[in-house]
């Protein structure tokens, strides 16, 4: 080391210190705690703000927390990371996780947050490569999200992608390669258990001659491949700043034939034309290539298929349906080919001006273009001995068919903002933002189908099919526009007193002209106590802030034509033996539909102790959505085929407490560690429902969202035991449905009227957890790094619908049920003798949804710099990562993580088995 060298000492949580060596042999260094730790800059929508100056709730997740996880979307990587943000993943490749920020604030499908990717507003960020993300900021409360007005009610997730950093070009390559396997498969009865069961429940069924056991899950599942490669070049000088990357992701599904591949290319550039003018652009192109599987039938049938039928032998399938069972699930998967190719271009071009000091003007065009091409081919096969080992049954497809659908959608946003920031005197820090947004989205589509298309995939074009069967249509069409004006004032006095106010005025084309415009204001106040003199002379408390805010937000995420009565066209009938096309008006619509409004109070204490080694935040929030848009079930009397119409009927509240506590410390120079916990307690409640009319939802109306309960509350009969004998049945209140036999479930006469019927249903919990949590931590030691994330739900309920959804008596049962079910010799008082297709909804199918899961564990090693320099690298890190390593739960199904809409979450019907991913990764920088 040369004597005139300068050493840089750095450590997380401490400020860097540069020390000139000056020929000394030993140096004593003490690093100062980083006072900025709580002063990081966060993105708040149309601007940034010091985190310490915030009066609302904003959580930030850094890139490094995301990229280590072998997951397909960044949303999945957020699981367990921050309080108030619930991520419910589903195992499907390219599946969109359900995200709920501070509970479910609406009953419509539009409960997901708004994503803003470099200014582009979207509801889907599955096109993004995780490696391209710099930060994710979550705007949780109304005062933070109010700047997004009518899109802000469900919270806002702002994704900022990477930019080049000053310096010469950096080339980096990251990869992760591994495999996925199913975890927690449900054990089905084997042949012996199944035969015993059938002898009891369906003695008339003639059993096939088959001595083995077919495990249908083994037949349709596999170990799948995961790999992710990312190559990026970035850098910046005084004229230009650039970041280019390419990413290839393969994330195949567990079901055979279920595949997913995605290519992403990104170009982020900024050209600095002068000290006052710059042009910036962020653009990404993605191409997603998917082969889907019809999970609805494949997984349900795999659960129900008889173990006595051979799956496939010498190219011919076992005929499950000829045995009075479901269709052969393996055939179902193999005889359908459902592929989609989606190209998406997302990005913006902006002009930034700084005409005078402190004033920034920006005008940007943001675009999001999606082009999706789906092609579904159904092979022809008959229920004969060419396809099946034996002929018969009802599983057949008499004519091959090809369906092609192309959907393209365009959305643009033109944003104009002016931001003026000024320090008046040395104590008044003022920032003022005004702006306008113009937005238009449009979707076009073209769909066609023909029969008798040859089975060779090279022939899968519409032209090869029977022209007499040609059909074409435009299934998805829509156009919507919004106009908005926005403004914000931030004022900080002396670093102590904080004031923020947002105002947004929104107009939308989705409502009629009387209901179209809305004003969404917010105000927030904060007080940094540690800036006060009375807290200056103490060492314990390094930061203490109190803040409170109030705001109003809107949600207009409904179908654009909700308020206009339209006729369905092309309704066929035949006159004079010729087809004619009629029209039908059958949708009931509320002309005065308007957006739902959420008002929210938020109050928090933020603190840092012991030089901010311990930091934390406790927040109370109170959200009330009024006039929530809901599909109100209407009597069939109204002739509406879906038996519902949409209106502003409900008030929903979410009240809760979020707490997060983080410990971050260094021990010596080479060892640092951190540990954090966060917990969210949320109470969701439907406060008011259109004069008390409750909403039923879920398969078989298993949920009822009524006054005073959480949205999607299970509403079922209460199972209180099993009838042991006829005498017990005779003495019990009469069933109005099928007369019970010994071994049937006994239901409570909840309303005490002496009969058991659907009036005896009771509220029996909901999927919404009263508490969910995340635990994360990590350590670094001499190049070794380790990090982990746990997450879980506490005390929520799930409904095991797949167990109930039997169709035929020949359906298979779970091994546990086979062992525990009631028989005259096994007088169980919990499990009935059998579950039939008319077994009503009851608490028997409700199980605890509590779980804790090790979401992710990463162990990495960064090779010493001097070593990698010899091979011309600036850094090299290798790591092993595991996603979803284990789950502790009492739930008997595949997974207690069951995404769904507000009225039907937590119901396991045809859920994709969850997977565990194990992978090795490499990060190289040149």
């Amino acid at each position: 080391m040369p004597d005139n060298a300068t050493l840089i000492f750095s450590s997380v949580g401490y400020t860097n210190q540069e020390v000139a060596v000056n020929g000394r042999a030993t140096l004593d260094i003490s690093l100062a705690p980083d006072a900025q730790a709580l002063s990081e800059v966060v993105v708040v929508g149309y601007g940034t703000q010091q985190k310490r100056d915030l009066t609302g709730s904003v959580a930030r997740i850094e890139a490094k927390e995301i990229v280590n996880q072998p997951v397909q979307t960044p949303t999945q990587a957020l699981q367990g990371k921050t309080a108030g943000v619930q991520i419910i993943s589903n195992g499907t490749p390219n599946g969109q996780p359900t995200v709920r920020i501070r509970g479910t604030g609406t009953l419509l499908a539009g409960a997901s947050p708004l994503y803003v990717v470099d200014g582009v507003q979207t509801t889907d960020i599955r096109n993004l490569s995780n490696s391209d993300i710099e930060t994710i900021d979550v705007l949780k409360d109304a005062s933070a999200a109010a700047i997004y007005g009518v899109r802000g009610a469900n919270g806002v997730i702002i994704v900022t992608t990477k930019k080049g950093k000053q310096g010469k070009p950096v080339l980096s390559y990251n990869n992760t390669v591994g495999f996925k396997q199913a975890t927690r498969l449900v054990d089905m009865a084997d042949a012996g258990q199944y035969v015993n069961y059938l002898q009891d429940t369906a003695p008339n069924v003639t059993l096939p001659d088959f001595t083995g056991t077919t495990n249908w899950y083994d037949q349709i599942l596999r170990t799948a491949t995961y790999q992710n490669h990312n190559l990026a070049v970035s850098g910046a000088n005084e004229n230009v700043r650039y970041y280019f990357s390419g990413n290839l992701l393969q994330d195949d599904g567990l079901a055979i034939t279920n595949r997913f591949k995605r290519l992403t290319v990104r170009s982020n550039t900024e050209f600095i034309l002068s000290s006052k003018v710059s042009i910036s652009s962020q653009a990404s192109f993605s191409r997603a290539d998917t082969r889907d599987v019809n999970f609805g039938t494949a997984f349900q049938n795999a659960y129900r298929a008889s173990p006595l039928i051979t799956a496939k032998q010498d190219g011919r399938y076992g005929n499950t349906s000829a045995f009075g069972n479901v269709g052969n699930p393996l055939l179902d998967i193999e005889k359908n080919d459902n592929k989609s190719l989606e190209n998406r271009l997302q990005g913006n071009v902006g002009l930034n001006l700084t005409p005078i000091e402190g004033l920034t003007l920006r005008s940007a065009i943001n675009v999001d273009l999606t082009y999706n091409n789906r092609r579904v081919y159904n092979y022809q096969y008959a229920n004969d001995e060419i396809t099946f080992l034996e002929a018969g049954g009802n599983q057949r497809n008499d004519r091959s068919a090809l369906f092609v659908t192309q959907i393209n959608s365009t959305r643009y946003l033109w944003e104009n903002t002016a931001t003026y920031q000024r320090l008046l005197g040395d104590k008044h820090n003022l920032t003022v933002l005004v702006g306008t947004v113009t937005e238009e989205g449009q979707t076009n589509s073209l769909a066609g189908s023909r029969f008798d298309v040859p089975a060779d995939p090279n022939q899968w074009y519409l032209g090869t099919g029977d022209p007499n069967t040609a059909v074409n249509s435009s299934p998805a069409l829509g156009k919507d526009r919004r106009l908005s004006a926005l403004g914000r004032i931030n004022y900080v006095y002396d670093g102590k007193y904080l004031f923020t106010s947002n105002l947004r005025y929104d107009g939308t084309s989705k409502f009629n002209s009387d209901q179209r415009w809305g004003l969404f204001p917010s105000v927030g106040l904060g007080w940094v106590l540690t800036e006060e003199n009375f807290l200056k002379d103490q060492q314990l408390l390094s930061f203490l802030k109190l803040r409170a805010s109030y705001g109003r937000l809107g949600n207009d995420q409904i179908d654009p034509n909700s308020y206009i009565t339209t006729a369905d066209i092309n309704i066929p009938y035949v006159f004079n033996s010729r087809p004619v096309l009629g029209a039908v008006i059958n949708q009931i619509k509320d002309r005065n539909v308007r957006w739902e409004v959420t008002r929210e109070y938020d109050a928090a204490i933020e603190f840092g102790l012991l030089d901010n080694r311990l930091s934390g935040e406790v927040t109370y929030y109170d959200k009330l959505t009024t006039d929530a848009l809901i599909p109100v079930n209407i009597p069939a009397l109204f002739g509406d085929p879906d038996n519902q119409y949409i209106t502003n009927a409900a008030d929903i509240s979410n009240r809760g407490l979020e707490a997060a506590l983080n410990w971050r410390a260094n021990v010596g120079e080479r060892f640092s560690y951190n540990f954090g916990v966060n917990a969210t307690f949320n109470k969701n409640r439907i406060e008011k429902l259109n004069g008390g009319q409750a909403l039923f939802g879920g398969a078989n109306n298993v949920t009822r969202s009524g006054n005073g309960v959480a949205a999607g509350t299970f509403y079922v009969l209460k199972a209180v035991g099993v009838f042991q004998n006829q005498a017990e049945i005779d003495a019990y209140p009469k069933y109005t449905f099928e007369t019970p036999k010994p071994g049937d479930l006994k239901y409570a006469d909840a309303n005490g009227d002496g009969t058991i019927d659907l009036r005896d249903r009771v509220n029996a919990g909901s999927y919404q957890p009263p508490m969910y949590f995340g635990i994360n931590g990590g350590l670094t030691f001499s190049g070794v790094d380790l990090s982990f994330v746990f997450s879980g739900n506490v005390n929520n309920d799930v409904y095991n619908r797949k167990k109930q959804a039997t169709g035929q008596v020949t359906d298979n049962i779970e091994a546990d049920f086979a062992d525990n079910r009631w028989t005259p010799t096994n007088p169980s008082n919990t499990d009935p003798a059998s579950i039939r297709n008319n077994t009503p909804n009851s608490t028997y199918f409700i199980e605890s949804g509590s779980y804790i899961r090790l979401n992710n564990l990463v162990l990495g090693y960064t090779l010493p710099t001097e070593l990698v320099k010899k091979i011309r690298m600036s850094s090299l890190r290798i790591y092993a990562t595991g996603q979803n390593l284990f789950t502790v739960t009492n739930y008997s199904g595949f997974t207690p993580e069951l995404p769904g809409g507000p009225l039907d979450s937590g119901i396991e019907a045809t859920t994709y088995p969850t997977s565990r991913t194990l992978a090795l990764g490499l990060n190289v920088n040149f």
Partner: protein, 513 residues
């Protein structure tokens, strides 16, 4: 303006202009007026002369509803009319379709999905009719055309209500387009009396009688004057207004309402060759569309088709529901040609059963059930189809001349015109190859009705009606069929619990459920 911006440079002024333009655009109301894309709105219907006709055609389409969802003429309608009676059993494999078994055994309760699906289907039909009736007066078409179209729609609405009142008794009476704001209005949901519903049906059908053209003066498949007369006559028979029933049917029988007659071969009535024949008075028209998926009653044929069972080993024709009962098979007099024309008999003989088109069903040990409905059979080889078994184009005969004769005979008999009744009835017996009756009794007319209209979705209603004319028969008939009919309960099906729930309890349940 100028003074404010003058200190600033030119670029800023440009940007300010841009901003001002956008704010200006924000004030522009038209930007937010976005009409629905690619959809027909109510306003367009009002100005388009062809639209009224389209809405009427859209009402006919509702008669295709079937499958396992909302139903008008599909398998579930078959369950409620044939399987619920002593003419048929559920069929298929014993374990299949539990809710249909409940209907078969009359053990169903209010949560049975079949009754709910029928309720939904028929109210969809009624509402489509009301929507069309709401718009028709605005049509620029000539008054005569308008009245014909209104007549067609009211005929269909009357027919839908007639099935509803027979299935459920008094139902809510909806004769206009309800507003979204009325959804919680109890007065809309309250059940009208059966008499009020019958009055609506009679008014609708009478309008049809007065305004519909004769057969041949309108497109095949549209409601005609004779269709309205025949259906109204049947309604009057249910009302025991025999004079009106007699008068209306006599018009048809005397040839005043168009040319109608009996098809010489009974077995051809339900085949393609018999579609829209001289015997047809009103039938659901089906056909083939390019998509091969929506121009027929969903699952109607395939659900009643013979099903593989036992040893299997053949590509079967359907799900095997709606098996003609032993009682029905035994109800035919020896030599009655209608027996072989109505029922497919599965045999234990090695020859199997060869159908009219040459299709061979193997012998009993490979077939699930012993008897199937021949009337629901659609030949895959000799009758048109596009390969989609779910939508085989079988026209459903709602009213045919044979039934007009039966209505006429029964009304005549009740009016004391026994000789006339005998003559009319014997026309059917002659065709069936049976000797003419003398000394006619009401029982014999009903016996003739049973075998003539077997498996034509009338028997359950007819049994209930006959019981009100001559009490004491229905319980033994069901007992002979091995089932229990509870008087005071089973005359009607339960009001679907889901609908009671949705009405907030305003809808009341039928007795006994």
């Amino acid at each position: 303006m100028k003074t404010i911006f003058s200190p600033l440079n030119r670029r800023f002024r440009l940007a300010a202009l841009g901003l001002a333009l956008t704010v200006g655009a924000a004030g522009c109301k038209d930007f937010l007026e976005v009409a629905p894309q690619g959809q027909l709105t109510e306003d367009q219907i009002k100005t388009d002369p062809a639209a009224a006709q389209k809405l009427v055609d859209g009402v006919y389409n509702v008669m295709y509803l079937g499958g396992f969802g909302s139903d008008i003429h599909g398998l579930q309608y078959v369950m409620l009319t044939d399987v619920a009676s002593d003419d048929a059993d559920k069929g298929s494999s014993p374990q299949d379709y539990g809710s249909a078994l409940e209907v078969d055994n009359l053990t169903l309760n209010s949560t049975n999905d079949i009754v709910n699906n029928a309720w939904q289907g028929y109210f969809q039909g009624i509402n489509r009719a009301n929507q069309a009736l709401d718009k028709l007066p605005l049509s620029p078409a000539p008054e005569a055309t308008r009245n014909r179209l209104i007549g067609e729609v009211r005929f269909l609405r009357g027919y839908f209500y007639f099935n509803m009142v027979r299935l459920f008794g008094g139902v809510p009476k909806l004769d206009r387009v309800p507003l979204a704001s009325e959804i919680n209005d109890p007065s809309l949901q309250r059940r009208a009396t059966a008499e009020e519903i019958y009055q609506l049906i009679i008014d609708d059908l009478q309008f049809g009688v007065d305004n519909l053209p004769l057969k041949g003066a309108t497109e095949t498949g549209r409601a005609t004057k004779a269709a309205a007369q025949a259906l109204l006559a049947k309604v009057y028979l249910y009302q025991k207004n025999y004079q009106k029933a007699y008068d209306l049917t006599s018009e048809i029988v005397q040839g005043n309402s168009g040319n109608y007659g009996l098809l010489p071969n009974y077995e051809n009535i339900w085949r393609e060759v018999g579609a829209n024949s001289e015997e047809s008075v009103f039938e659901v028209q089906t056909g083939i569309n390019a998509a091969c998926n929506n121009s027929a009653v969903n699952l109607y044929v395939v659900s009643q088709g013979p099903r593989s069972g036992g040893k299997g080993g053949w590509a079967d024709l359907g799900f095997g529901f709606n098996n003609p009962s032993r009682q029905l098979a035994d109800a035919y007099e020896p030599g009655d040609k209608r027996r072989e024309g109505s029922i497919i008999f599965i045999t234990t003989a090695k020859t199997g059963t060869v159908l009219w088109d040459g299709f061979r069903i193997p012998s009993q040990d490979s077939v699930e059930n012993s008897r199937y409905s021949y009337k629901a059979y659609h030949s895959r080889t000799m009758e048109r189809n596009c390969g989609n078994n779910d939508y085989l184009p079988k026209n459903i005969r709602i009213m045919r001349y044979g039934e007009v004769l039966l209505l006429n005979a029964e009304a005549a008999f009740q009016l004391g015109r026994t000789a006339e009744a005998t003559t009319v009835l014997n026309r059917l017996r002659t065709r069936a190859g049976l000797p003419a009756r003398t000394g006619l009794t009401l029982q014999q007319i009903w016996q003739e009705r049973r075998v003539e209209l077997a498996l034509e979705h009338d028997r359950f209603f007819d049994l209930v009606r006959q019981e009100s004319v001559q009490p004491g028969r229905i319980v033994p008939l069901y007992a002979a069929h091995g089932k229990t009919f509870t008087k005071g309960k089973n005359e009607l099906f339960p009001i679907p619990q889901q609908q009671i729930d949705l009405s907030g309890g305003v809808l009341t349940q039928n007795p006994g459920y």
